[in-house]
């Protein structure tokens, strides 16, 4: 089972949006964490802390099969993501590797929402978290059609 392409695409757009909103000197892991935290805030409100923790843990487990560097990352009981900053020094991967690991984790989390809630409700959640981002057509296949 791999990450759904449309969720990877959506994750990359969210990261791009957050990166452009932050400082130019901001690290990749900070951008990833900001995206994660926004999702966490909205999902905790919807599903509760325990509900979010379950989803995030599952997403992390799935993501690790694609990005082994995520083995250094943990989800705390309150849903906080720990260890992202430790990826680079511990595994000696380059920035692109951190970015890729982050994309994998976030897109896995969004992929779980897609499985459980479907595209319409998943996109509603994402739009609630990023009301100003242009996310109207997150599906790259649809974009290609147009």
């Amino acid at each position: 089972m791999t990450t759904p392409p449309q969720m990877r695409d959506l994750t990359q757009r969210l990261l791009t949006y957050e990166a452009s909103a932050g400082n130019t000197s901001e690290s990749v892991e900070s951008t990833i964490l900001r995206v994660y935290e926004k999702l966490r805030g909205n999902l905790c409100l919807l599903a509760g802390v325990a509900g979010f923790y379950s989803l995030a843990s599952r997403a992390l487990t799935l993501a690790r099969s694609e990005a082994p560097s995520l083995s250094a990352v943990q989800v705390a009981a309150d849903g906080n993501l720990q260890g992202m900053s430790a990826i680079e020094p511990l595994t000696n991967v380059k920035t692109e590797g951190v970015y890729e690991a982050g994309v994998t984790l976030i897109s896995r989390l969004l992929g779980l929402l897609l499985i459980f809630l479907g595209e319409a409700l998943t996109m509603n959640l994402v739009r609630d978290a990023w009301p100003d981002a242009a996310l109207d057509d997150a599906n790259p296949q649809n974009r290609r059609k147009t």
Binding site: L46, G51, L117, G118
Partner: protein
């Protein structure tokens, strides 16, 4: 206080087809309501329907979930219903999970959290699902009562219409303070009756509304809950003034026996054993109505509409064209676990849709068999309500019922429902001269001067055809085993006619 000074209570749509009628027009705005019932009884779905029907971006709905069904799973399943509009989840409906605060803190903190969210969202609708789990921790009576009181006061002050959902048992009704505080109490039940599930809804109380008392059937489909009022949704309808016309059966000799035909708005029962032409008579009645420009409904339970129309065609009656023209509807009502109320709903919809003036129910035995076993016990009572409701809006009903042929009795029906009917026509077989022949007699015609004759008839390619003269020269015709009278037929007729002359 004069009527002008009375506060006007707005009614909100419940979002549940049929429920607005039951609650007296809608749910009172700013009311504090409980939805109670066992797991799987439809509590959450009912609340969702109300939420989706009323939430707007300006006055959204706040849906608090607590312990129990996870919000994600709840949304996963609820979005399968047709009323679920995903677009409303952006701005109009907001889900807030209170599990953490419920688990870790006391009721004061829970109230504080609810207060914070309500003040932030300014909602028109607030749902707590499930309230039972929210107060599951042991509390002193005063704590719980105080919490409920403060919650109810706060939500009403913030102009929110509230639903608290809980799995309560009926024996808690007396002691639980929540039921005292609540303005409305909706109780959902589902019981197993042999192999069927019967769902019932009761409005135990609803302040400020003239709700319909009693247990109402409801069904859960992919459209959510649909409720069927015991009054069949007719309390809000203007009752048609029932005319005093006589409607033709399409059988001239029978019309004469009925003093010109069936009186408009009557309920007529055609009773007889299998093969005596009950359905044929009913078909002729409906076809004659269509011919005279009176739309009709045929509710069939024992054969499919196509077969019914084909059988009518064999009698020279065209039921296909009026169906295409919207003048006739043949309803085939035989799903599993059918309730009388659901059947009524289907029939009433059809009546309204084409403005039907005539209705045939063919047959009552098939109708009963199509019902869930749990509803069969109420068949007579439901039938009474159904007939009363339909004739009240000016529909003339012909019901057929099969009776066992007996040579010792002459029953009108096996259901003891003859009291429900204004008129009864009884068909039966008789053994005469080595032939099994058919006779017909009008047993009763409320308010009408019907013929007392026993008439022989045949079923031909033109339908039911009555013989020219009443059957004379026999005694004990209605026993089915008549004996020849010693008097000649001519003498019998003369004697009868002179009796009439003497009376007049």
């Amino acid at each position: 206080m004069s009527t002008q000074e009375k506060v006007e209570i707005n009614n909100l749509p419940t979002g549940v087809p049929g429920l607005d009628e039951i609650v007296g027009g809608g749910l009172p705005e700013f009311s504090f309501n409980i939805i109670a019932g066992a797991p799987g009884s439809g509590k959450t779905t009912l609340a969702h329907q109300f939420v989706f029907a009323n939430a707007t971006p300006e006055r959204p709905a706040l849906y608090f979930t607590v312990l129990g069904e996870s919000a994600i799973k709840m949304l996963r399943y609820q979005q399968q219903y047709t009323f679920f509009d995903p677009a409303k989840l952006r701005g109009s409906i907001r889900f807030v999970n209170l599990s953490q605060v419920v688990l870790e803190k006391d009721l004061g903190a829970v109230l504080e959290e609810i207060t914070k969210e309500v003040e932030r969202a300014n909602p028109a609708v607030v749902v707590v699902d499930s309230f039972r789990t929210m107060v599951r921790k042991p509390q002193s009576d005063m704590d719980l009562q105080s919490f409920i009181q403060r919650l109810a006061l706060f939500l009403a002050s913030w102009q929110a219409t509230t639903f608290l959902i809980g799995e309560y048992a009926e024996d808690e009704l007396r002691d639980n303070p929540i039921f005292t505080v609540a303005d409305g109490l909706f109780w959902l039940r589902q019981t197993a009756e042999r192999n069927s599930i019967v769902r019932k809804l009761q409005i135990i109380k609803l302040r400020g509304q003239d709700s319909v008392p009693g247990l109402h059937t409801f069904r859960i489909t992919n459209a959510g809950l649909q409720a069927f009022s015991r009054t069949f949704g007719l309390t809000a309808r203007v009752r048609n003034p029932v005319g005093r016309r006589h409607l033709s059966f399409g059988v001239p000799e029978l019309d004469k026996m009925l003093d010109g035909g069936v009186r408009e708005g009557d309920s007529l029962l055609v009773a007889g054993p299998s093969g005596t032409g009950k359905s044929v008579l009913a078909t002729q009645f409906i076809a004659e109505g269509v011919r005279q420009g009176e739309p009709g409904i045929v509710a069939v339970f024992e054969e499919r509409p196509q077969a019914y129309a084909e059988r009518a065609a064999s009698l020279g009656l065209d039921l296909e064209t009026p169906q295409k023209d919207g003048k006739l509807t043949i309803l085939y009502l035989r799903p599993l676990d059918l309730s009388v109320d659901e059947t009524m709903h289907s029939i009433l919809d059809a009546v309204q849709k084409i403005g039907a003036k005539r209705l045939v129910i063919d047959s009552l035995a098939g109708f009963e068999m199509a019902l869930s076993p749990g509803f069969r016990a109420d068949f007579r009572e439901s039938l009474y309500r159904m007939i009363f409701a339909l004739t009240g809006i000016g529909v003339t009903i012909i019901s057929t019922v099969e009776v066992d042929e007996s040579f010792t009795e002459f029953p009108f029906s096996t259901y003891s429902i003859s009291f429900l009917c204004d008129d009864i026509i009884r068909l039966r077989y008789v053994s005469i001269d080595g032939q099994l022949r058919k006779i017909m007699v009008v047993i009763k015609m409320r308010g009408g001067n019907h013929a007392k004759d026993i008439r022989e008839y045949e079923i031909t390619s033109k339908g039911v055809v009555l013989m020219d003269q009443r059957l004379t020269g026999y005694q004990g015709l209605i026993s089915g085993l008549p004996v020849r009278s010693s008097r000649s037929a001519q003498e019998e007729r003369s004697s009868h006619d002179s009796e009439i002359e003497n009376q007049t």
